[in-house]
């Protein structure tokens, strides 16, 4: 029993528990299952998200303050997050362990410290320096954002595809009650994910040691940690067995690098002499290296890179209010674009929870590199369900501000303000069946959800080419009433090039992207 209650076993149980909670947050991200489950909590306790959003916006949103718990844990115990909590770390450790067929000598070789492990500190500094003027790009490398994005866009649809084609059990699917979900960019997001996981077969915990900016931040904070791995020099025989399974490559066999140690405690188990222990600093006499291996020179270079990347990202003409793309349609509740990009960590929570699959990770087209993988609506795939506000509930950083359905539709207290408009619909008379071909249609008018409808028809009799006289209902848009939900575009029978389409102009979240000067249906 005592042997079971070793720290390594408890760490294993903790990793498994958090991974199961992670899978639970993915499974519960469905309209009828979500209830009050905290599906974004793992992202909200990410310390990097906390720090960088403070730098970019100056405020702490909703639950982000809970990351202070992780912060205190790190200040006391070191990089516990990396090996006890982080699900991405669990995945790396699992695949690295599963396919590792090296002998002891090769293992110890692969777990030695390399100076290139300081690359992650450079990434961290670049991101922090980018965040200060207001370009948040941590989502590209943040471990939780990456793992959530990969699961949303690549792994859960793959699971649904497999289960859907074989045993077809509703509650096992991640997206029951809809057709197979598609996501733009899933090829690249999935490939990057597979690549990162596959790298563990070359160097274990490659991402965690070399790339992870959260790990870098926690590594810096471990400077203050009270507890650390202590090697009793008198008992140590320099057998190097402690390097067999060292996850962080923190050199426990020599002078411990505190900023690299993941507190996995594998070294404690592997030492045959019981020379290693985990003790507070006042109880040990051994020397440890507290400062991360990151020189001033590297810091300066990283800082300059960060600062100079800001104009690199911002001046490509995709994001300002004059030349924005018509495809840049953001979810309801989103804040204005320049503020949005200060908050979005590209975690794709909103994309996963959207019941109609209309939210997609942006390609380079809508917003260039800066808006890559942020959520945009693609009305060819779905539409924004009228009484749904789920994307605003799960956003961890408030890029999509939490709204109630009343606010979305402009009812109750929000009557004066009006509904949230995502864009405006337009009709292309060259493709529209009644306008161009004298064939009756008006699906768009039928499905328009507003009351009164934002698409109305007027009746006209025409003689078609076959000599029949038909009474046509010809549709036209009322932009004062249109909320840009996109169901007209999604249902138009000219499926590939819809005759009625929604563009971003007229969205209510932005003062400078409005279309109408006044709304003719309001008295004021």
């Amino acid at each position: 029993m005592k042997k079971f209650l070793r720290l390594t076993n408890i760490r294993f149980i903790s990793q498994t528990t958090f991974f199961i909670l992670f899978i639970l947050s993915i499974w519960a991200s469905w309209v009828t299952k979500i209830g009050g489950y905290p599906v974004s909590r793992l992202l909200e306790i990410d310390v990097l998200v906390f720090f960088s959003t403070i730098l970019s916006t100056g405020f702490i949103y909703k639950y982000l303050g809970w990351s202070l718990a992780i912060l205190f844990l790190t200040l006391l115990f070191g990089r516990v997050f990396c090996n006890w909590i982080c699900p991405f770390g669990t995945i790396h450790q699992f695949f690295g362990w599963l396919f590792n067929i090296n002998n002891n000598e090769r293992r110890q070789q692969s777990n030695r410290y390399h100076h290139s492990q300081s690359l992650k500190y450079s990434f961290l500094i670049v991101f922090l320096f980018l965040a200060i003027p207001g370009a948040l790009q941590i989502g590209l490398l943040d471990p939780l954002a990456t793992v959530y994005r990969a699961f949303t866009v690549f792994l859960t649809p793959a699971w649904d595809m497999a289960i859907g084609n074989t045993i077809n059990v509703d509650w096992l699917l991640f997206s029951p009650g809809s057709h197979s979900r598609v996501f733009t960019g899933s090829f690249w997001i999935g490939s990057i994910f597979i690549g990162l996981v596959a790298l563990n077969l070359w160097l274990p915990r490659f991402f965690c040691r070399y790339l992870c900016p959260t790990g870098a931040l926690l590594g810096i904070l471990s400077y203050f940690s009270l507890f650390r791995i202590v090697r009793d020099v008198n008992k140590c025989t320099d057998c190097n067995l402690c390097l067999n399974r060292c996850e962080g490559a923190s050199q426990p066999h020599n002078i411990l690098k505190l900023s690299e140690c993941f507190t996995c405690f594998n070294c404690l188990d592997d030492c045959p002499e019981d020379a290693l222990s985990y003790s507070p600093f006042f109880k040990s006499h051994s020397i440890v290296e507290r400062k991360p291996d990151f020189s001033k020179r590297q810091f300066i270079f990283a800082g300059i890179t960060g600062l100079i990347s800001y104009p690199l990202l911002k001046n490509n003409g995709r994001l300002d209010d004059q030349s924005f793309s018509p495809l840049m349609i953001r979810p309801p509740g989103s804040i204005e674009e320049s503020e949005f990009l200060k908050k979005c960590i590209k975690c794709d929570e909103c994309i996963r929870i959207c019941p109609t699959n209309v939210l997609q990770p942006a390609t380079f087209e809508p917003g260039g590199f800066e808006a890559l993988w942020t959520p945009v609506l693609n009305f060819k795939i779905g539409h924004c369900q009228l009484k749904c506000n789920l994307c605003s509930i799960v956003c961890p950083t408030g890029a999509i501000r939490e709204i109630t359905v009343a606010e979305k539709l402009g009812k109750g207290l929000f009557e004066q303000k009006g509904p949230i408009r995502l864009g405006t619909a337009f009709i292309n008379k060259n493709c529209c069946l009644p306008w161009a071909n004298q064939i009756p249609c008006v699906v768009c008018e039928e499905v328009c959800p507003t009351a009164p409808k934002a698409i109305q028809t007027f009746d006209e009799e025409e003689k078609d080419v076959f000599g029949n006289i038909v009474t046509l209902n010809k549709p036209f848009i009322i932009p004062d009433l249109c909320i840009g939900c996109g169901i007209c575009q999604a249902e138009c029978p000219v499926t590939d090039k819809p005759a009625v389409y929604v563009t971003a102009i007229g969205e209510s979240r932005s003062d400078n992207r409005r279309l109408l000067l006044k709304y003719r249906n309001h008295e004021t």
């Binding site: 005592k2 042997k3 209650l5 070793r6 720290l7 390594t8 076993n9 408890i10 149980i13 903790s14 528990t17 909670l21 639970l24 209830g35 009050g36 489950y37 905290p38 362990w97 599963l98 396919f99 590792n100 067929i101 067995l241 404690l268 188990d269 592997d270 030492c271 045959p272 019981d274 222990s277 009484k387 749904c388 506000n389 789920l390 509930i393 109630t404 359905v405 009343a406 539709l409 009812k411 109750g412 009557e415 009351a451 009164p452 109305q456 007027f458 009746d459 006209e460 009799e461 025409e462 003689k463 006289i469 009474t471 009322i478 009433l481 249906n521």
Partner: protein, 363 residues
């Protein structure tokens, strides 16, 4: 070659021997914390406000003052090159006088023939088809106020017998018959029903108001301008109208199922006395044999409900078992004449005598 292992072969066996008590206690504490965390997460299932994720019906009721929208009226099709206002709507057989400043054509005239009549009047179509129906012209008029509408159905029954027959089917005792030149009609709750020459018409209004009613009466009167179709005068009309001077309104014709028998067809009826229900009838056939056969068949059938009082090879007199009314018929050459539903024997006999005198002699 070396055999390649796929998975990690090493077992997780710890090398250490000493495990401190502090480690065990902290492990237990951590385990307890993890369990608490899991229970907390699972317990969050209902920790949300459903009102935020849905719209209260009370909030919707506040907008019941819906935005009224203007709807453009239907734009009619006209041949291009013509001015919309000056273009005259095609009225087919309808007289031009039914249009006015107030009333214009709303929908184009729809025409139905024997094949597609049921599309317009479904179940009733059979009746019309029985009465030699040829064409239906359907027109819809709308008032300038966009609210009042009038539907006109004009049936071409192929000849006067047809239109008379179908009119008699529509007509019941209580209707007040009005006559305007050659138009005969009566008003109904929603409009008017009538006939003129070979046409039978039904007019109905969408709303019951003064404007609609006046217009309907005017339309009925205007139908007297309908083109007169030259038609040979039918035997029944000849006999009853020309010879016996019985007015039009009391003459009717039945082409099928006379007296509810499927072998009896093509009978003309006339009511000599408007106060009485009794009717004279006359049937002309091609040969006297056919008439004889018809006479015999009728005799057999009426024996079920009538008691035969008198009969000769050429005539029959019977009295209804319950109603106590008289039925008599006489066959002569290729004619079959008679009287049905007579209350008094003497007047019946009188009428039959007059009718028999008027029958053309010879073949």
């Amino acid at each position: 070659m070396k055999s390649q292992k796929i998975f990690n072969p090493k077992k997780r066996r710890p090398n250490r021997k000493v495990i401190l008590l502090s480690e065990t206690i902290s492990s237990l504490v951590i385990l307890g914390f993890l369990a608490a965390l899991v229970f907390w997460v699972l317990g969050q299932k209902n920790h949300f406000n459903p009102a935020d994720r849905d719209l209260n019906i009370n909030q919707l009721s506040q907008i019941s003052k819906s935005t009224p929208l203007y709807h453009k009226p239907l734009k009619r099709w006209t041949e291009s090159g013509f001015d919309q206002k000056k273009a005259e709507p095609k009225l087919a057989v309808f007289p031009k006088s039914i249009l006015s400043n107030e009333w214009q054509v709303k929908k184009r005239i729809k025409q139905f023939n024997r094949d597609n009549l049921f599309e317009k009047i479904n179940g009733e179509a059979e009746r019309f088809l029985d009465y030699h129906f040829k064409n239906l012209f359907y027109l819809n008029l709308v008032h300038r106020n966009q609210q009042d509408e009038i539907d006109i159905e004009l049936y071409d029954q192929g000849g006067i017998p047809g239109s008379m027959g179908i009119f008699s089917e529509h007509r019941s005792e209580g209707n007040l018959i009005k006559k305007e030149k050659n138009v005969i009609y009566f008003e109904t709750a929603i409009g008017a029903i009538g006939r003129v020459e070979n046409y039978f018409f039904r007019i109905s209004g969408l709303n019951k108001n003064e404007i609609t009613r006046n217009k309907i009466v005017q339309i009925a009167n205007n139908f007297s301008e309908l083109v007169k179709v030259e038609e040979k005068i039918d035997f029944g009309i000849f006999i009853f109208k020309e010879k016996l001077k019985i007015p039009d309104t009391d003459i009717s014709h039945k082409s099928q199922n006379v007296f509810q028998y499927d072998f009896a067809q093509d009978f003309w009826f006339a009511k000599p006395d408007p106060q009485n229900k009794g009717r004279l009838f006359v049937h002309e056939n091609t040969t006297s044999n056919a008439v004889s056969e018809l006479f015999n068949q009728l005799k057999i059938e009426i024996e079920y409900e009538f008691t035969i009082i008198e009969q000769t090879p050429n005539s029959l007199l019977a009295k209804h078992n319950f109603l106590k009314s008289y039925f008599s018929m006489i066959k002569q050459d290729k004619y079959l004449i008679g009287f049905e539903n007579a209350k008094q024997f003497k007047s019946m006999a009188n009428y039959i005598k007059i009718l028999k005198k008027e029958l053309p002699h010879g073949k």
